[in-house]
Amino acid sequence: MTAPRFVPPLLALACGPGLVAIVARTKARMAGRVGPPLAQPYRDLVKLFRKGAVYGATTTWLFRAGPIVGFATAAVAAALVPFGGLAAPLAFPGDLLLLAYVLALGRFFAVLAALDTGSSFEGMGASREASLAVFTEPALVLALVALARLGGTLSLSAMLAGVGPAAWAAAAPALALLVAALLVVFLAENGRLPVDDPTTHLELTMIHEVMVLDHGGPDLALVGWGAAVRLWTFGALLVGLAVPVRTGDPWVDAAAALGGMVALGVLTGLVESSMARLRLRHVPQLLLGAAVLSVLALFLVLR
């Protein structure tokens, strides 16, 4: 029995906000609060989509294109990453590079939209986002290259399908390094805590949130939904590596991966509850550390 191939992106679109809710719920529980209900992100999206958009007089079409391109690239990325044993609808040799750079395209448009407003705060956020991207990119791409070498294939779906118990038994150190590196990339790319605080509203310290200050209504909804889909997509990549359940029955594998995603959400919440945001000048060091882990894994599999 094979699963329909459009399931992974649909799951990402539908469950991405749920993952955000799990993280928020975990953080609230750790802080002794009840926390918002798990449906809160969905309600926020519905509320925002029903509002009208407001555009500044200085903005151009770039500002309007930013959220749309951001959401579209996140959706394309979600269509590239398999979920557990479910193969992705888009799979071809070399799609790992498309994944890395389609996400970079979304980021590029977010930065352009932020610069387009002419606000100095948003410009600051844009410059930080762009400079940190320089450090996350090698970590992500090198990790994917190591994975490609390990699986002997250039397609994400094929290489993640190959990461079963047998692969873990054969190359456990390399895979563990890759999981650690991708966890740091996951936190950094999605603006989670040791790198960026998603809940702060102090313009001087935030990175991602400050770039979207001027968006409102449906635009903000697209930004938030796109961010949730990105979070889910990176999570699917990480869980595909860290949960090596490949029974052959796609639904069992998907259920295991779903459990992994919930665990990842809880783990992110725990990390966010227990760590303070790093000072900005220490962030490159952390990301460089992730890149070092990726290179180390690459050396180990090249050997």
Binding site: A170, P284, Q285, L288, G289, V292, V295, L296, R303
Partner: protein
Amino acid sequence: MNAPLDAILVGILLTGFLLLGSSRLVSCIRTVALQGMLLGFLTLAAAERDAVGRAAVLTVASTAVKGFVFPWLLVRVLRGAQVRREIEPLVGYGASLLVGLGVLGLSLWLGTRLPRPDPPLSTLLVPVALFTMLVGLVLIVTRRKALTQVLGYLVMENGIYAFGAGLVQEQPILVELGILLDVLVAVFVMGIAIFHINRQFDHIDTDRMAALRDWTR
């Protein structure tokens, strides 16, 4: 392929990178302690069936010395010297990590060129030993605080030890004891040196010693 051995070797590699990237002296000392313990278990994992008893003794001895005695001594020195972190290394932490990667590539390449013991325990063993030695060298060359330089010396010694651990079944125990004694003496010498530098100049930043000059003016 010996899986626990490989895991330990990768752990040793990671401690090397941690040392290159961290600025707090206390965490550096802890990392060296962890590296020492990993080395102890490396001996155990590398031992052949009939030599497990001897390897266990060696593991206990080296874990005790490298994992507990040295760190304790060094933390004492640290407390006395009143330094918390390496302020301005000659080469920054990010650049040190990149240097570390270069060193790793070099040792992996060298590991393929050197003759190996027959049969090789793990193809990673020789590169990891070389890498650890070179990381120690990098620490000695690029850090300013005498304490970090002592740590670099210890790390170099760890690398030499790892080299020996791979040959443990071919080596007489005297050589192994010699290595331990060697490290012990080295730390004593360096500890005494730090004590004197500290007593004389009130700080252990070796760069300031370069400013010593004769009264010629």
